[in-house]
């Protein structure tokens, strides 16, 4: 079992609902400080978005963040170098599209991530069927491969994805890309479908924009992922302190 999953299972067993914010790497020069602030504010793990020119699964907010980051010259190397320069105090999970890893070479990409302290990877356009190679490479490191399930996922796929995912299972609350819809949507049904075949921690994402929604989502799941809502504040100029406060609010409402 990958270390990420060990950590997240322990978290669940401790009774704490996981709060996983998403940051776009390189979107501002001080982005790692935002990450550190989020950890201070109560984040349990961090999703690190690695910008890609064609983010098929992302809505307008994360697209803009990716564009801004790419314009600033961000690359996979530069991100991993920045990450390896400091310990951010929580498990880091990379989130990006498969072309980047493919282009760098899977082994080289995984090596860079591992050097940056990354312990998990979400690759939304990498289907289970196409993932063998990547998973083998990850298994040479401690990087967990995290799969998504969606409201449209069929029964047999729920089973296979829940078996295959490592660390946690990412349950899309809705049929939507990031930042498009709001609220828990079909989360309960999706989470239950995963639980029916696996006891892997299951987090709800896509559409969680308010602390209240996060709280509702954790009522039937093990944690939440907060993406566009947070990225938007950073695009609008939030400071690391603002980010800490943002996360703290979510934390406290979830923990109420």
């Amino acid at each position: 079992m990958k270390s990420l999953e060990v950590t997240l299972r322990e978290l669940r067993d401790s009774g704490r609902k996981a709060l996983v914010p998403y940051f776009m790497a390189g979107v501002t020069p001080d982005w790692t400080q935002h990450v550190a602030a989020a950890v201070l504010g109560g984040a349990d793990a961090i999703e690190i978005g690695i910008p890609f020119s064609d983010p098929m699964m992302d809505g307008i907010v994360i697209q803009r963040a990716a564009e801004r980051s790419l314009e600033a010259g961000t690359t996979l190397d530069s991100i991993c170098a920045q990450l390896s320069a400091r310990d951010l105090g929580a498990p880091l999970i990379a989130m990006t599209y498969y072309n980047l890893f493919h282009h760098y070479g899977l082994r080289r990409a995984a090596g860079l991530l591992a050097q940056g302290g990354v312990v998990g990877a979400i690759v939304p356009d990498l289907t289970l069927e196409e993932s063998d190679e990547w998973r083998e490479v990850c298994d040479e490191t401690d990087i967990a491969t995290i799969f998504l399930v969606a409201p449209s996922t069929t029964e047999d796929r729920f089973a296979r994805l829940a078996q295959a995912t490592q660390g946690f299972c990412y349950a899309s609350a809705r049929m939507a890309v990031t930042g498009r819809a709001q609220g828990a949507g079909d989360a309960t049904r999706v989470v239950e479908a995963v639980r029916a075949t696996s006891d892997v921690p299951t987090y709800v994402g896509i559409g969680i924009t308010s602390p209240q929604q996060a709280r509702e989502a954790t009522e039937h799941s093990d944690g939440v992922i907060v993406g566009s809502a947070l990225v938007e504040t950073i695009l609008k100029g939030a400071s690391p302190a603002d980010t800490e406060a943002f996360i703290r609010t979510f934390r406290s409402v979830i923990d109420e």
């Binding site: 064609d54 996979l76 289907t127 969606a150 449209s152 996922t153 899309s172 049929m175 890309v177």
Partner: protein, 394 residues
């Protein structure tokens, strides 16, 4: 005994053509891709479906399109050129073949709506057309820049009852329109089919679109045979995503004909690209050293795509087909030459293939060769642009 490989058959069960193709989509879309694959396989072996597809293309789409011998052009360049006239198909290009197939399939799957991406608007207009005929709702995604460059095509789609959404992300062109259509599809797979416009995207699209386009090659093969020309020495087509090329190549994949795909110099995915993953497929892509997809640049909007269909990547890798590229200047000259000599104004896309023949006649194309040129579309959509360019120089 060594066996010749059979080209342009069905892909592997995972949608691979050699190392290329596959299915790289969000999990939310996987069920829709699988449903589509099953529906296509079922339909494509159902004579009733095939009959309807063919008869709609005949009675509505204007098929078969003729093969025209380009007498004056041939004489001037010393090669025997026959043009397959997709410019005469309804809506002005080969795009209608694909959308007729996909909209019939949409109805068969019980879906009531289609979405599509479009660059210059050809595929958008074609989709809007086929959707109107069946009374399907239709939304077309188009880069904001393209909606500005092609206001008339936007209006055409609206006339046909479609909604056009201007995509404001990324380079605001075709690539981004595909991204946005995929995103939209995620939120409406239940009742909506994504009518992709070329031999690209996740399995089964590259295969399905090629099958719907292969009527071009089948017709051409028969037409040349009946007229005594037989198998041509060479088959030449322009390549954006690669659907018109795939369609005509399909009629000659296992013949002795050389197959040549002509890309735009500013979007030459085979010549200048490297393997990668985009828009649901593994193929040849133009990308930066860091793995970011680059913008293509071509005078012809329809070739302004940084990738190529995966089967073409395979045909290139296996050596069965050659891929070359042509720059904007030569395209302009070719468009004028064909217009003046033959009374056919080709689309800028198709003019790439014409330009390559002009360039290579007597060189890569031996004198006296018979060449089948796929005239994928008519140039009416391009005359305003060509006029502006040529006038700008006077």
């Amino acid at each position: 005994m060594s066996q010749n490989p059979v080209y342009m058959g069905a892909p592997s069960s995972t949608g691979r053509f050699g190392d290329f193709g596959g299915r790289f989509v969000p999990e939310a879309l996987m069920p829709a891709c699988l449903e589509l694959e099953a529906a296509f396989i079922d339909a494509w072996s159902d004579p009733v479906f095939i009959d309807e597809y063919r008869s709609v293309l005949q009675e509505f789409g204007g098929r078969p399109t003729p093969v025209t011998y380009l007498g004056r052009f041939s004489k001037l360049f010393g090669v025997e050129v026959f043009a397959k006239r997709e410019d005469l198909a309804h809506t002005g290009s080969h795009k209608i073949n694909n959308v007729v197939g996909q909209t019939l399939l949409t109805r068969r799957m019980g879906k009531t709506r289609v979405i599509a991406e479009t660059g210059a608007g050809q595929h958008g207009v074609a989709t809007a057309t086929a959707a109107a005929r069946l009374g399907l709702e239709c939304t077309v995604f188009m880069g904001e820049l393209d909606t500005q460059r092609q206001v008339l095509n936007v209006f055409r789609m609206e006339l046909l009852g479609s909604k056009v959404v201007a995509v404001t992300s990324g380079s605001r062109t075709l690539k981004d329109a595909v991204n946005e259509a995929m995103r939209e599809w995620v939120s409406c797979v239940q009742d909506t089919h994504y009518c992709l416009g070329s031999v690209m995207g996740p399995h089964p699209f590259p295969w399905m679109v090629r099958e719907f386009q292969s009527i071009i090659g089948q017709e051409a093969e028969e037409q040349l045979r009946l007229r005594g020309v037989g198998v041509p020495d060479m088959v030449v087509a322009c390549v954006g995503g690669g659907s018109n090329a795939a369609g005509i190549f399909a009629g000659f994949a296992n013949s002795s004909a050389r197959l040549v795909g002509v890309e735009a110099a500013g979007g030459a995915a085979v010549t200048n690209g490297s393997p990668g993953i985009l828009h649901g497929m593994k193929s040849m892509l133009i990308q930066s050293e860091h793995g970011q997809i680059e913008e293509a640049h071509s005078i012809s909007a329809g070739l302004d795509y940084p990738g190529i269909g995966p089967e073409h990547a395979y045909l290139a890798a296996s050596g069965r087909a050659e891929y070359v590229s042509i720059g904007d200047e030569d395209v302009l000259v070719a468009l004028q030459t064909l217009s003046e000599l033959e009374g056919i104004i080709p689309a800028l896309e198709s003019a790439h293939a014409v330009a390559w023949i002009m360039q290579e006649a007597g060189l890569a194309i031996p004198r006296g060769s018979t060449v089948l040129l796929n005239l994928s579309g008519r140039g009416d959509k391009d005359v305003a642009q060509v006029r502006d360019i040529l006038r700008g120089r006077e």
